[in-house]
Symmetry: C2
Subunit: 392 residues, 2 copies
Amino acid sequence: MREVYLDNYAASPLPPEVREAMLPFLGERFGNPSSLHGRGDAAREAVEEAREKVASLIEADPSEIIFTSNGTEANNLAIKGLAAGSRRKGKHVVISAVEHFSVLHAARTLEKQGYELDLVPVDEHGRIEIEELRSLIREDTVLVSVMLANGEVGTIQPVAEAAALAAEKGIPFHTDAVAAAAHIPIDVGKLGVQALSLSSDLLYGPQGVGALWVKKGVRLIPMLDGGVQEGGRRGGTENVAGIVGMGKAAELAKERMGERSAHLADLRDALIRGLTSRVEHLELTGHPRDRLPWNASFVVEFIEGEGMLLFLDQRGVAVSSGSACTSRALKGSHVLAAMGIPPEKAQGSILFSFGPQNSKEDVDYVLEVFPPIVERLRQMSPLYAKYLKERG
Amino acid sequence: MREVYLDNYAASPLPPEVREAMLPFLGERFGNPSSLHGRGDAAREAVEEAREKVASLIEADPSEIIFTSNGTEANNLAIKGLAAGSRRKGKHVVISAVEHFSVLHAARTLEKQGYELDLVPVDEHGRIEIEELRSLIREDTVLVSVMLANGEVGTIQPVAEAAALAAEKGIPFHTDAVAAAAHIPIDVGKLGVQALSLSSDLLYGPQGVGALWVKKGVRLIPMLDGGVQEGGRRGGTENVAGIVGMGKAAELAKERMGERSAHLADLRDALIRGLTSRVEHLELTGHPRDRLPWNASFVVEFIEGEGMLLFLDQRGVAVSSGSACTSRALKGSHVLAAMGIPPEKAQGSILFSFGPQNSKEDVDYVLEVFPPIVERLRQMSPLYAKYLKERG
């Protein structure tokens, strides 16, 4: 059976160049960057080279990059660490209503600690209402966080505009760029943000590594106390092989962004066109134009996302119903809810996330197998029977 | 030039079996354990199999293992998460004076948050004074943490005895087993502890992975909010390859513990005997008998640790002056200070940490090159000149 992997938002194959860059550090080049001998120096140089590559991807200074263990840690460190760093100025935080759980739940933890939290609402395409953000910013606001793009529905946010609002009041602005960084050119200076999160695996690098960029001069309270690694901002022995892999992935992301994004957007658009013309009661979610090139997300009425996933899996097609971090929580998506999609419709959500290894043949295969699956699930759906009956 | 690597406490080569276990997950077996399809299932099964192996090493239940990004994160999660979990009962924490920075500094962070912190003193061998611990435990104590063994000087602590004191008062007891776990048989039930930290790299597994074991029923507040990974106790996409590597390393640690420890203790004892008989004004630090089999730590009077490191590095021998996490902090060791070793003596500390790949020839080489290095450094030392003059 053909294997068509379209769950690249959850995990993706390592490009051979990334794997090759990592392997020596799982072998003869092992070492601890803190060690004061030749082997330690070599490990430290490898980490610093990776730091330069990650910084270069977002046009930042390498000294401002803190390596973490994933995007979730980067987001937690940003939200909790920046809020704690400005504690004396106030206890009010503003984030968008469609943030990843690692931002949303970190902010909820702040709420339990006595902070006030406001969520910026989004329109039907998942874009933040910029005037709402303006009205939510207060004198005691110490942090604003709006993601660069949403991985679940692909919508790209007007971050530069949002950051300018925070800058007017001198409030640190964080953006979660995890879903976007490999596909949208980023210049932290031009964006006007003070902190930005990255995850290696979403750059087509290894799992288990991430990074937080924090602009020089912005106060951040560390989460992991220990040694003086990462300039004292994140203790613990570095994951050298993983960091080297993330560095290589960042380098490739910069080099290949144009080519990759064009290829992904072609596949995405072919799937969107093909499915909307072949499947009734199917709607694209997220912004129709300002969206990540790899993201084709839909809601399919009258059936459940999990049923589609399982039937597609049986035909060799791997997809998800949204964020992998929420899939096992078995809850409705807060992103779709924020976009005004009612729960009965949101339960039929499905996300096809493309990677550079995918091809036009993968799209063709999905266009062949998916419509009959929807048809079959609809025949078993009491909701659909009810709809047909009501329509008469 | 011969390369003799004796800094295994900082980093160690991956056994081929560990590397082989990891590689498929950096290749064709990539996947996200949260994904609801075959590839996700395979990744999840691999993580759960690793969890069983890690649990087995310490005779724990797999459901009680939380994978982290290293030992530092495990220790931070234990200290901060357990203290926060018992916040309503009190705000007093007791740790030993010789804990790793990741425990000590995490506890210092609690102090800044309004907790009271007491340090249990140690004797000249670095062993905690058990009666002092008894007197420090109060009605409002919410956490006691004493490491299983100290990596810097090798001393094994009387943890079962210490944990029994905490148990009398129903206080959660955490032990940092990072330096010990590959070499001392551990049964968490028999130890009578409620939480235990591990680091993959000190099990001869990959960097970038660790684990915290927390006994069922003990309340822990997570540090990384996000998805429902690790039973909701640690959000973020798992480092699948790293976790698999840690699992394999734990399995090997259990299988080979007796053989490895005997081999390491032979090398350690040969080096201790050889150096104490060949080098004047050299003293073993830590406990003479109850010590980790891989640890040979000394202070050498009148000279500095860093000088010895650099000269040894020139002869192909890699060692450290103590904990890698403190080496770049350029501060005197808090462990040696707690043992009553004066700063002028402690500055001459040196740690030879053996790994399974080391041989008797490595010891012989050190015994050949080290005494002349000490001799040469002494000739340059104003402290030694002063000593000779005073001795007359």
